[in-house]
Structures are given as structure tokens and as C-alpha cells.
Amino acid sequence: MPERGVRHTAAVRGGSRPGGQYSFGMPEAAVDVQDVIVRYGEVTAVDGVSLTVPRASILALLGDNGAGKTSLLQVCEGFRKPDGGSVRILGLDPTGDHDALMPRLGIMLQSGGVYPWATAGEILRLFASYSANPLDVDMLLDRLGLRKFAKTTFRRLSGGEQQRLSLAVALVGRPELVFLDEPTAGMDVGARRTTWELVEDLRADGVSVLLTTHLLDEAESLADHVVIIDGGRVAATGTPAELTAAAGIDLLQVRAEPGLPIAALAAGLDAKVTEEAPGEYAVAGALDTDAIAAVLTRFAQAGARVTAVNTRRRTLEDVYLALTAGASR
């Protein structure tokens, strides 16, 4: 099992800020969360989380249900004060500067938040009317495939359609920063693709995005930065590439003749060797170039004729499962 060595890849917090080119004249990050604690009575939902969302970038907060993602988002959105730590949103205090901040934010809640008896068109037009310079309502309905539901009441929409409408509501005021709480939950594959493209367009147009998800492919394909949160704490942070590359190649699959002496092959290596099927050997561990060379040397010393070698790099899913499994189960 990969160890927790990726913890230190904290590109999100340090000086490297890919969105920096947008920050000229507005130096503050879109989101700056430091050591935030959220408690519900005895339960500590968020336990000292720090993260930064640079301007015009997408940060994915990845974690299981109950990991503390929504609680952290609630603090960022000004719905509750943190029990510890500090939060700055676009340089402002989300509770103290609430009314000044709200027009600049787009908020998509995980569920609900709109009148069940109002139609999709009425809801979007209502939120558009709050803004002096809103997006075109019909364009947005088209973009999210909701045009034909404009006269359908919210409660008659499917879960995925409700999600898309909530996303439209978050965007209609041309916000600088959007908070998306599990934006593609309940969407079918097509709607999910559409939503991802939309979120990428947001970033391209200079909007900053903080989204929560428990979908690894969503985080991997969309996010500039991923923060894995587990049990209210940051388990790992980094770009998707950093997180998956941190421990190098993890699995080496070697095909040779069956029945080689396993103990001799593994001697002196920080890796585990198994013969998974006759003649199919798996070498698992944090394997750098030297280690891979050493493995093949052992095979040669054992007199093996190697006919195939395969390597497999970890996916974000491997990283995620390794990080969250140890702590919670």
C-alpha cells in the first residue's frame, strides 16, 4: 500500500499560483482559508483546514460523504462562522462583509434553495433581476439544456435538471467566484460532460471555482488543485499530476517462466513480489528508476527469461483510497 508520502506536496499553499497572471491589481486570492475549525456540538466536522484558491483557477475539494466538505463550504459562503481560524473570500470577511460580498459570489447549494412551486424560467429570471448586468437567461437555459423546462415547476424537474438549474442560478449574476457543492450529483453522463465544459469555460473567462465532489474523475479532469479531505482534515493537496506522481511507479508486472524463487527476487528490495498467475509476477512498492533496474537484475540473476514488462502508475483513485482507507476504516 502506498504510504502517506504525498502529504507534503502542498503546492496549493505555497508561492506557486497559476492564477497569478489574473491577480494584477487584485492581489488577494479568491479564497483564503487558514486553520478553519467547524464544530457541531461535540462533533468536529472541520479540524484545522487551510487552503487557497488562486484567481481564475478550479480547486476541487475531494472527500467522502461526511468528510467536512460542505461544512467548509458553508463557512466560505458566510452561512456560518468558523469556530476557529480565518476565512477571506475575495479579500473580504464572508460574515462581516456578507452583503457587499454576495453580488460577487455564485452559490450552488447541494440541494434545494429555490421555490418548489416556481417554474425554472421564473426562478432564473428572479435571480437575474438581482443583478444589474445579468447573463442572458435564455442563453443560460440553452447552455444547460433547460430551455424546454422553462415553464416546468422546480418540484417537477428531475434531480439532474434541478442541479443544472441551481448551477444556472449561481452563474446568472456574472460572479467572480463560484462555490459548487457536488455540482454533478444526480446528473447523467451527458449532463455531466456539459457541466464540466461549462466549468472549464468559467475558468477560461477568469472566474474562480471552488467545488466539492466525491467523483475522482471529476477532480482529476477539471481541477487545477485538489485538496483531499478526510475526517475534517487535509489528507493531501496538490495538482492531480503531483498527487498521482508523488510515489513514482507503483506496480511492475513481469512475465517470465513460472515457479521462480519469490524470496530471491525480492531480496534487498523495498517491494513486495507475488506470482499472481503462473509466470505472471507483480512487484508492488514505491519504485523509482534504480528500484526497477534492481528488480530486473534479480530476475536475470535467477536465470529467468523475461518476455514482457508492464508498469502501472497510480490514478487519483489509488491515492484517494490509500489516504482515506487507513484513517477511517
Binding site: E77, M102, P103, V114, Y115, Y130, D201, A204, G206
Partner: protein, 255 residues
């Protein structure tokens, strides 16, 4: 990475508050009109009481001028049904649906949302009073308009008190419980508030215990008899408004 199209380039700016509030008030009114049970509660029941108790001798009243007694009471009842019962139920459900939370976190802001709700309620109360008074006049009620301003004054105070109570209980309980409690209180007040039966003989104490009875009595004094509103009723309704709004401000919850 996709190229910038400029569609979503940030340009956030709050619309003028007047525009925001106007569209919010319109939304509140449209949604109220769409809920059949709210319309029945606010108009149907008072109308039945007006015609039933005003034109027949189905109930015992402390006077022979049946319409002069019943119509002002029905006007007071409709204020309570809209500002208290309807408002409490709507607010309870909107809270559980996350609507209050979401709208509070929009450029509308929380004070804006409360203002829009209050304005929509005043609008509705005004319309209902005009409609029911018109029915009363057609049925034969002859109001005296010399004390119209005090009548409007006590009605505004009663509306404020009911709104406060509605928001207070909507913040305390689950929406199902709020609905049951608000409806029960409505029925009890209908029976005991001096609308279609004489109010319980509690004297001035009754005006402090039952705001509906106080409001109904004030409307009878002004609109039927053309006399001033008793000082104790002013005091009672003012106290109710202050206490209810304070309780709402303390206990109201947005989510």
C-alpha cells in the same frame, strides 16, 4: 483548457434595491396566488363566516346589528389568516426547502427578503380587506369612515404582531408542526376571538390575551360605530407587536 469566450467574464453588480425588491415582491404574490389552500384560508373561510354569521341567525351575537358585528370581525380574521397562519406555514416550508438560506445569500440580502415578505403581506392584506369589505357592503353593511385612519393604524399594528408571531413559530419547529400549530391557533381564534360568536367575557384582559378580539373590537368601534379606538386596545396591539417582533428577531432561523 478551453479558450476564453468572454461569456462568463466576471461583471458582478447589484441591481438597484428598488428593482430587486419589486421583483421579489411580485414573486411572493405570484406564489401565494398559486397555492390554492392559502387562498381558501385567506378568503374562503372569512367569506363563509361573513355570509353565514352575518346574514343568518346561526350564531348568538351580543347585538342585533349582525353585519355591523361580523364584518369588522371578518376583516380582522383575514388579517390574521394572511399575516399569521399563511405566513407561518409558507415561511416554515421555505426554511425547510433552503429557500430562505439561499435568498439570504444573494444580492437580495436577508433584510431585503424580510422587507419583501412584509410588503407582500401588506399588499395581500389590503386587497383582501377591500374585497371582503365590498362583499359586506353589498350584503348590507354600512361602514362609518370618519375613523378610517385609526382603523388602518390598528390594522398595521395587528399585521406587524402577526408577522412577528409567524416568523417566531416558523423558526421554532419543523414545517409540518408549524402548519398544524398555526392552523389550530387559527381555528381557536376563530372560535374565541369574537368574530362569529361573542368573545369570552374577560373585559379588557381579553384584549391583552386575544389580539384578534382586540383588533376586531377596534374595527367595530371605528368602522361600525364611528368611535375612537380605546386606549387599552392601542396598548394591547402595540405590546403584541413589540413582543412578537422581538421574539422573531431573537429566534428566527434562516435554515
Amino acid at each position: 483548457m478551453t479558450a476564453s469566450t468572454g461569456t462568463f467574464t466576471p461583471a458582478p453588480r447589484r441591481a438597484p434595491m428598488r428593482t430587486i425588491l419589486r421583483s421579489q415582491i411580485r414573486m411572493e404574490l405570484v406564489l401565494t396566488a398559486r397555492r390554492g389552500e392559502a387562498v381558501v384560508l385567506a378568503m374562503g373561510v372569512p367569506l363563509l363566516v361573513l355570509l353565514g354569521a352575518g346574514l343568518t341567525h346561526a350564531t348568538n351575537l351580543p347585538t342585533d346589528d349582525r353585519l355591523g358585528y361580523v364584518v369588522p370581525g371578518v376583516l380582522a380574521l383575514t388579517v390574521m389568516s394572511t399575516a399569521f397562519t399563511g405566513q407561518a406555514i409558507t415561511t416554515g416550508y421555505e426554511r425547510s426547502y433552503g429557500v430562505l438560506k439561499r435568498l439570504g445569500a444573494s444580492p437580495l440580502t436577508r433584510p431585503g427578503l424580510l422587507f419583501a415578505k412584509t410588503a407582500a403581506i401588506l399588499c395581500l392584506v389590503g386587497l383582501q380587506i377591500l374585497a371582503l369589505a365590498a362583499v359586506g357592503v353589498v350584503a348590507g353593511w354600512r361602514p362609518d369612515l370618519t375613523e378610517l385612519l385609526p382603523a388602518i393604524g390598528v390594522t398595521v399594528l395587528a399585521t406587524a404582531a402577526y408577522c412577528g408571531l409567524a416568523l417566531f413559530i416558523a423558526g421554532l419547529m419543523r414545517p409540518e408542526t408549524v402548519t398544524a400549530a398555526a392552523t389550530l391557533i387559527y381555528v381557536l381564534m376563530l372560535a374565541a376571538g369574537g368574530i362569529m360568536f361573542a368573545a369570552p367575557g374577560l373585559g379588557t384582559a381579553g384584549w391583552f390575551l386575544l389580539p384578534l378580539a382586540a383588533h376586531a373590537e377596534a374595527l367595530r368601534d371605528t368602522l361600525t360605530h364611528g368611535t375612537a379606538v380605546p386606549g387599552t386596545i392601542w396598548l394591547s396591539l402595540t405590546l403584541w407587536a413589540v413582543v412578537a417582533l422581538t421574539a422573531a428577531a431573537r429566534k428566527f432561523r434562516w435554515e
